[in-house]
């Protein structure tokens, strides 16, 4: 148990350093890219404004001050657990994000379920029939899957399942049916990497001595596969998931926008185009914590399901 606590402690220190670096880099990059929120605040495309008024707003909001001072001000608020207010929406950043977070998390979970449903059968098939036609077929599917952009895949799924077959709703969130298309799109976008990884794991395990002895003992093949091989191959999968959670939360944006999913996608895309600095920074902090938290969780889980790691860690101490 002491081991677990020391690990968590180490992680929190890492987290703080990472946040400091991450927030500073994004802040500076944001300020260096052309454009600022002034024209959006003044709604220039719609009501009469002059360049003098733009200057005035720039001063009012403090966008004309040195970047370091602006960053320092933001940081001192964050230390007091205040992520500030969105410049455009005039609402607390934390609230804007928290309102949309559950939908994004729900879709991520849906995507993971879809991923397992897609990746496990394909990789098992490929592993059992290694270098035979089912294997080539599965690998081919994986390559095609990896090269299709997710927005196009989503459109295809909508076309077939909503328009041609009229089975599933085009967009929105509400019933279980609404989860299917966005989850499958997300799952299929991630599946190729997992199929490849799982296939290789399974091939290794199927050739290992304990599987051979199981076969020798006359245990049915499906039983070996389900209770010995797949189980053993899940450990690297969990690690892999921890690593890909960041890109997953990023990739979900496109899918959310395609399916009108009320997650964080639209919010963050607008924040970036409108240069809503506090909102972008807030998003990075929240999503960053989420990624770190999930990775910590993944490490703990791997420790629990793989006693070897725990033993090695003990020995190291």
């Amino acid at each position: 148990m002491r081991l677990v606590f020391s690990m968590i402690g180490k992680r929190i220190t890492q987290l703080l350093i990472m946040f400091l670096l991450l927030s500073f880099i994004t802040f500076v990059l944001m300020k260096l890219t052309p454009g600022d929120p002034v024209r959006t605040i003044l709604n220039v495309e719609d009501v009469s404004t002059t360049t003098a008024q733009e200057e005035l707003i720039k001063q009012q909001y403090g966008f004309d001050r040195p970047i370091l001072i602006q960053y320092g001000e933001w940081l001192s608020n964050v230390v007091q657990l205040d992520l500030g207010e969105s410049i455009i929406a005039k609402q607390p950043v934390l609230q804007l994000i928290i309102n949309r977070l559950p939908a994004s998390v729900a879709l991520t979970i849906g995507g993971l379920v879809a991923l397992l449903v897609i990746a496990v059968p394909f990789s098992v098939l490929a592993a059992i029939y290694e270098n035979k036609w089912p294997d080539y077929l599965c690998r081919g599917v994986a390559i095609i899957g990896a090269s299709i952009p997710s927005f196009w895949l989503g459109l295809l799924l909508i076309f077939f399942f909503s328009l041609q077959l009229n089975l599933l709703p085009v967009m929105g969130r509400g019933t279980l049916a609404h989860y299917i298309l966005p989850s499958v799109t997300l799952g299929m976008a991630m599946a190729p990497v997992y199929i490849k990884l799982l296939r290789e794991q399974l091939i290794d395990i199927l050739q290992s001595s304990y599987i051979e002895s199981a076969i020798a003992r006359g245990i049915p093949r499906w039983r070996i596969l389900l209770f010995h091989a797949i189980r053993g191959s899940l450990i690297p999968l969990v690690t892999m998931f921890g690593l890909s959670i960041g890109s997953l939360l990023g990739g979900i944006t496109v899918i959310e926008m395609l399916f009108s999913w009320p997650g964080m996608g639209e919010l963050i895309v607008n924040a970036v185009t409108q240069r809503d600095y506090p909102l972008i920074q807030g998003y990075i902090i929240v999503v960053g914590s989420l990624v770190v938290f999930i990775n910590l969780l993944v490490d703990l889980i791997t420790m629990l399901i793989n006693p070897q790691i725990m033993q090695e860690a003990r020995r190291a101490q």
Binding site: T49, R173, L176
Partner: protein, 508 residues
């Protein structure tokens, strides 16, 4: 073990079946007893606070004191009438019997409170309305502006000036207005559910429920209309229209918008300071080809900055395509072809940088078209595609010579806005430093003139000068393309895009 596998398979199948059943329910919500309609819009709203977002008026939740009608002229709405007492003072009288959705009456004080909140939460409107004080007396409201402001009434067409109840919580999600529909539920950036307000002052709505959904992907909007999930789908890309046009139960509406696509010339660029060169480029634009090919027929050729239906727009025909005339103008400007076939003057080749942006996909295509036309005459155009066009135009004023641009030129029934921002030396949409002395004098005069007839005359005069001096080349007025299910009745899209959901909208 086999049993477990069967169980798992059964559960998965069961979940899928539940899902399918739900979907069928959704697509069959055509209920005669309970008329409900779904409108699908392109720009997702993160708030529906009418003081900050346009959906308040668009979805029929809130209303403004005045509105513009189909002919784009200003009409009374919540205000019964109004008069200008002096250059800075306006008196509005509200209609009788107005109530908010919670049945509280709307009087002068409620309107005053609504405007006070607007000025507090919306910097742009506070800037634009120039209100110094507001007084309420019964059904009367007296506005005093900080300076002479002849277009004050037309500015009140802006949807952000909606009258809403302010002493209520959660205006971002549950605003209380006076419109034919009240908010039941709002999911940010996803959908608004509305039901009709039974005591609406202008006659109760003909349908019971409306859902406004948002989707920023044009292809998905087209598919949702075809699947029956949406009854009205806004802003469809031209390439999605073919399957919709083939269907008997769907139709496509295409109306000219208040937007104009144009070329903006940089007066700091030395070749473009010559009017002959600007005119030559103007003559190289075949507006009909652009409307037919690039805009797929969903555009009207432009004859000036303003929509032809406005009384202050240009009366003349659009400039015609005439490369020969363009060539002779360039000759007049002193350009000669060199050995490489390029136009040259004082040993300098005529090279222009044309900026464009992807935000409106047709603009880069127009840029390419102009590039091809110009190269036939020996003008070299380099196209630069930028991400944030305004930042580029303002921060790199010496880098570009011309730019494809697009804007709403008269969003509230008066051209004063566009003329001020695009042609005043300190205008926020004048990155090319356009300065035409006559136009500038007329702008000053316009800003002091309140009589409508005089304003129209002044604006026409300015448009004439602009057409002659060519500081900008107006190309097309793009259309608003809307897909509609034929069961929708009493509804056509308006050019203004303000009043989408009305009490008259009906379903078969």
């Amino acid at each position: 073990m086999k049993k477990t596998i069967y169980k798992i398979t059964a559960i998965i199948l069961f979940i899928f079946l539940i899902g399918c059943e739900d979907a069928n329910d959704l697509s069959e919500d055509i209920d005669q007893e309970n008329k409900s309609l779904t409108l699908l819009f392109s720009f997702p709203s993160s708030t529906i606070d009418p003081h900050q977002d346009w959906m308040g008026v668009r979805a029929g939740i809130a209303e403004t004191l005045v509105k513009i009608d189909q002919d784009l002229s200003i009409q009374p709405w919540l205000a019964e009438n109004w008069e200008q007492e002096d250059e800075q003072t306006w008196r509005f009288t509200l209609r009788e019997g107005l109530t908010f959705h919670d049945d509280t009456p709307v009087d002068g004080n409620a309107v005053k409170a609504s405007f006070e909140r607007l000025l507090e939460v919306n910097d742009a409107m506070a800037n634009n309305l120039k209100i110094e004080s507001i007084e309420a007396d019964g059904r009367d409201i007296l506005f005093v502006t900080s300076e002479s402001y002849p277009t004050f009434v037309s500015e009140l067409v802006h949807t952000n000036t909606s009258i809403i109840k302010v002493d209520t919580e959660n205006i971002n999600e549950q605003p209380i207005g006076t419109g034919p529909f009240q908010v039941v539920d709002f999911t940010t950036e996803s959908k608004i559910e509305l039901e009709r307000y039974e005591d609406y002052w202008d006659g109760v709505a003909l349908i019971d429920k409306v859902t406004v959904q948002f989707n920023s992907d044009g292809n998905v909007r087209g598919l949702a209309l075809q699947s029956g999930e949406a009854d009205i789908a806004y802003h469809l890309p031209p390439e999605t229209l073919a399957p919709i046009e083939q269907r008997d139960d769907l139709r496509v509406e295409s109306v000219s918008s208040l937007r104009v696509h144009f070329l903006l010339y940089n007066m700091k660029s030395s070749p473009l300071q010559d009017q002959n060169v600007r005119q030559a480029l103007d003559l190289l634009i075949d507006r009909q080809i652009i409307a037919d090919e690039i805009m797929a027929g969903h555009a009207t050729v432009a004859n000036g900055p303003f929509h032809p239906d406005f009384s202050f727009s240009n009366d003349g025909a659009p400039e015609s395509y005439d490369p020969e005339q363009a060539e002779s103008l360039l000759k007049q400007a002193g350009y000669q072809k060199n050995a490489d076939g390029q136009l040259e003057k004082d040993n300098e080749v005529l090279q222009l940088t044309l900026a464009t942006y992807q935000g409106r996909p047709e603009l880069p295509q127009m840029a390419q078209y102009l590039q091809a036309e110009a190269s036939k005459l020996g003008i070299e155009i380099n196209i630069v595609t930028v991400e944030n066009v305004d930042a580029y135009l303002w921060e790199q004023q010496t880098e570009w010579d011309l730019v494809t641009y697009s804007m709403l030129s008269a969003p509230r029934g008066d051209g004063g806005y566009f003329l001020n921002v695009a042609f005043s030396p300190d205008g926020s949409l004048n990155p090319g430093d356009i300065y035409i002395e006559d136009v500038n004098a007329l702008i000053t005069q316009l800003n002091q003139t309140s009589t409508i007839e005089e304003r129209i005359q002044l604006q026409k005069q300015m448009v004439d000068i602009i057409q002659e001096e060519v500081p900008q080349s107006y190309i097309v007025y793009p259309h608003i393309i809307v897909g509609v299910n034929n069961r929708v009745k009493n509804w056509t899209p308006g050019s203004e895009e303000y009043y989408l959901i009305t009490n008259e909208l009906d379903l078969e």
